[in-house]
Subunit: 348 residues, 4 copies
């Protein structure tokens, strides 16, 4: 059994990790930790846990972690993550970090978009970007994973193969993304209250959302040269799920057929447990993926405009956060990537 610790277990991504790992056949959760709620039972925050044996939230104790954990998941704000992750690595445990702090190769990009000084840039070389379908081998050998963002997972999975195969123009990409409210975390802020969100809809972070830079860095690797793109997130009145509608120009003067698009995706995702490419013209809906670790991708060629429209869907808390983190753990410990992860959505 893999002995697991979770730091920041009371946020929405943290709770999702506890939920997924509590039924994982190869995992024993040894400690759940929270600064704000240590001493409380998790059921005091999430009543659903009354159904399980009592789990107590503890403070972080590195000696205990060293003794009792093989891997620790950190679900913390960006700055505390930078401070705590090195200490965990020093304990000899593997770390999967869900913040933005270890996702970048270039510390300057991180610092520019996050407005935070990175005090451990040396770890960025060591850290592996945990997008499982693209970095499977590196992940298997990693001690530190920068677990990808939610918007970025949906976006990069849809675009990476197309850029790598030169099937779209890299300067034409527009990502119009929509996320459920759990994406904002366990928040008491008024804009995320029921009355302010329900029956409404809005764009936010227009031209400035941090995930833009994470998507751009990864897609630059795909394209072999810098990519800049337009990314606009929106707040959907649903609890879970991200749907990104992506627009790109097809290469000038080239006819591109659905077979080529399909081929590019298959080249990267053949045999993947969680990526599903739909036939040309068939587009996924949120309910096809919510509750699962899947990413469904559909596309439609617009011949009239010589453009491609792509729709990519995930559950933001699972494939966009906790599920992908578990998938990373599976790969790091030599398990099948899909172990313990839901492969079928709750359509209803």
């Amino acid at each position: 059994m893999i002995r697991v610790g979770i730091i920041g277990a009371t946020g929405y991504a943290g709770e999702e990790l506890v939920r997924l790992l509590s039924s994982h056949p190869e995992v024993k959760i040894t400690h759940i930790m929270s600064k704000s709620f240590c001493g409380k039972k998790i059921s005091e925050l999430y009543g659903s846990y009354l159904a399980l044996d009592e789990m107590l939230l503890e403070d972080i104790d590195y000696e205990i972690i060293q003794q009792d954990c093989d891997v620790v998941f950190t679900c913390l704000p960006h700055e505390p993550s930078i401070e705590i992750v090195p200490k965990l690595l020093a304990c000899g445990v593997k770390v999967i970090d869900l913040s933005g702090s270890f996702r970048y190769k270039d510390a300057a990009v991180f610092e520019a978009w996050y407005g935070i000084h990175h005090t451990h840039p040396e770890l960025l070389k060591k850290a592996v970007y945990g997008l499982c379908e693209l970095y499977e081998e590196e992940i298997a050998g990693a001690d530190l994973i920068g677990n990808p963002g939610c918007y970025t997972t949906a976006s990069i999975l849809a675009l990476y193969p197309l850029l790598a195969c030169n099937l779209i123009q890299k300067d034409s990409i527009i990502i119009d993304a929509k996320s459920g409210v759990t994406g904002a975390g366990r928040s008491e802020k008024l804009p995320f209250s029921f009355c302010e969100s329900h029956e409404s809809f809005k764009a936010y972070g227009v031209t400035t959302h941090r995930h833009t830079s994470e998507i751009e860095e990864q897609l630059s690797f795909a394209a072999g040269s810098p990519v800049a793109l337009s990314f606009t997130p929106h707040l959907l009145p649903v609890k879970r799920g991200i749907l990104a509608t992506i627009y790109a120009d097809l290469p000038k003067g080239l006819e591109i057929s659905p077979i080529e698009i399909q081929g590019a995706y298959e080249k990267f995702y053949m045999g993947s447990d969680f990526i599903q490419i739909l036939p040309h013209g068939s587009l996924p809906e949120l309910k096809f993926v919510v509750g699962s670790n899947n990413c469904f991708i559909g596309y439609k060629i617009d011949e009239r405009l010589h453009k491609l429209v792509i729709v990519s869907c995930i559950d933001n808390l699972i494939k966009g956060a906790a599920g992908q983190a578990v998938q990373n753990m599976n790969l790091m410990f030599g398990l099948d990537g899909s172990t313990g992860l839901p492969q079928l959505a709750m359509y209803l």
Copy 2:
């Protein structure tokens, strides 16, 4: 034109008042006031107001109120209301108070259920309970209105005529009420966040909700003797609306026909603008009333069990708060009660 001031204009009931009064044909809003947000524009809190001329939130100034207002609506927590209302009355303006502080005849009942000492019990004699369909005459002559609570409006309107006509047993009443989340006000508390309320449902305040005592006091007047009843509120994942399902035993050994029930309601509500009694067996839904100042009441006799089931619906922000307050103002200023109030719901 009636010159109107609104204190506490930034809460949900306050904003609803501003909304309704801004299109009232006989009203000029002279001042909107807020302690927390004075100096701001209301559009900074409610973006919808960008469509109107700028309205500035001001601090309370009794001299200005005296000069510029004929009536002031107070949308404040219970304790500040008790302090501020006497000062407004001293200015010579009429006051319509939306808190619980001036709804009771018996200060001891208020103090027991609210846990607040009432420092101006002498005003309770002067104050008129603003349930327009029951106290029309008293309201017309009043200087101070205790505007009824939301649950209480839906409950009392359904039960008062039946108790007054001895058509139900007064010790058998159970009110199972469900309210939309605006009932909790403009709240940053986690239980009212989108993620904690959407796709969920719960009872709260079971056996202890303050509105129990307000309903009981009014229904005791109807019955001519003390009434005690079971009242359970629930939180519905909708923005607006209250639906109360009410159970009562029919009088022992008496056959009661729908005609008698209908007759009792007609006796009290004949010619009323806003009360709609549906035919026997036909029951109202929230969407029949939301967006309007209406109260729809339906009922079904359960012959097998010799019981009556009643369903009563209102929009909690309109008939349950701001709309009824405007209806009170209309009566106090000699206007038709329905002036400026929406008589048709937004079904969609």
Copy 3:
């Protein structure tokens, strides 16, 4: 491996069965059947199944069933169930029927409330009522299960122990129940459209809902004499979940303490995997159970009125239908009742 067939696999309860059983460790789904959609892939109706290997919907063929199935789940309207179930039993397979047709001991009660002539009343003796926590032994030896209704599961689990222990007055019971829209099944009817259900709420089937009779029959067994009660269902604007608020008078002249209530529940549910009794005054919310096979029960004694208020919650598609059916199958095949069933809700 238990070889399973599902008839009526395309309705909402049917799909939920396919979903749960497709990850059950001891089950192989051999056939999914549908009259209306035979020849189609299930992914054509539920896009989520694109993530799994193709599953074809077939017509019913008793020879094939005899050959390939150990147990068949029937998710059909009441009348076809009465005709098909005997044929399946004749094939030598065990049957778990999700309709109302095999839930009653008294055919006359079924016929009175359903308005359907029961052509196989002899099977009602043989059929076991599949409320797992109350009939575990009988279920283990059964060939035919009448799987309980959704409202009835939530209601009976909350009331059976209290009636059996004489802790409430049997003629005082009022059940005010609220269900998500999946309870209406995969319906194209306008009242279940998004625009007619969202932001609305209503009671329906008042005094006449069929589940009344199913609850009454079982509670009569608990009480040892006939029980008649008031049951009112409502339509909640959520997809899944039932919350029943139940009112009952405590025995006249007797003080009842929380310890006695707790004791009655423990007597019946001690060691149960899925029933969770909350401490006195603590009440469950839908989000504590949705996505799991749990039933959470909370209660509050109203000393002022000498009444008991109980709140009982389940996921209507899981504990109220498909999950309980799987739990029945587990017991019939000697497995632990919880095998393959979710024990922790999706709080988010």
Copy 4:
């Protein structure tokens, strides 16, 4: 008083017209007509109308229309509209048609996108496109109005001034639009059921939606040359509202400042009752407009990418259908355009 008839009064746009016109100070509704429901009361379909005097749905009778109506609104599918509108005009009444049939100048474009043969192309010259803010004078003199589509209203109002002032590149436009479910009309189709729409989200009609052509025709008039653009609609799990996020490239090699954008909008919408242009970087949300006839437009210049992002919001049933139809009527009958129309949204 303007005497008004409404044909197709039971659809969602039709009911919205009845709702708005029933409180319009200068209107008397003389007939509401419906083929499918003639003989019924409108309250049998929309329970909210129990609050008003009984309104009976009638069959179409041209003699009665000629006698009793000054203007008729037609809320019908595209083909019946083409047949009925000429007969109404022959009666000497003015007609405001809410279908797509009279919105185009070029019948061939209509026929290509709608797949319907237009049997009265001669009326297209006579018909005025009823986008009030752009064609106010023509509308004032018109006998026949082609009332704009919902998506098109939000899109054209946002883009027309920018194209007319050469502030964006006309071949770079991408419109990612999201609509509430009322946009699908009063539909019994499964995809619009609560369970299939709630907590989900999807794109539809990708590259083929009919409104593309309507937007393109109008924007071609703005640009003075043909415009082709990418338009993708999505289904939002809300009842009302459209939010369009629009992307366009700024002119190559030109710096464009917010002042120029603001200037272009002011040139077209100065003094308009219902168009609200937000300051640079401030973006509207659905709740700012739902319930009103307003269109709110916000924009943000993306200097990094030399692009413009625009967000445009309306209530699809009001400014996107019935409200704009009433605004057209107001202009045709010499009233102020805003008469009887809600100018403030229901934020809550």
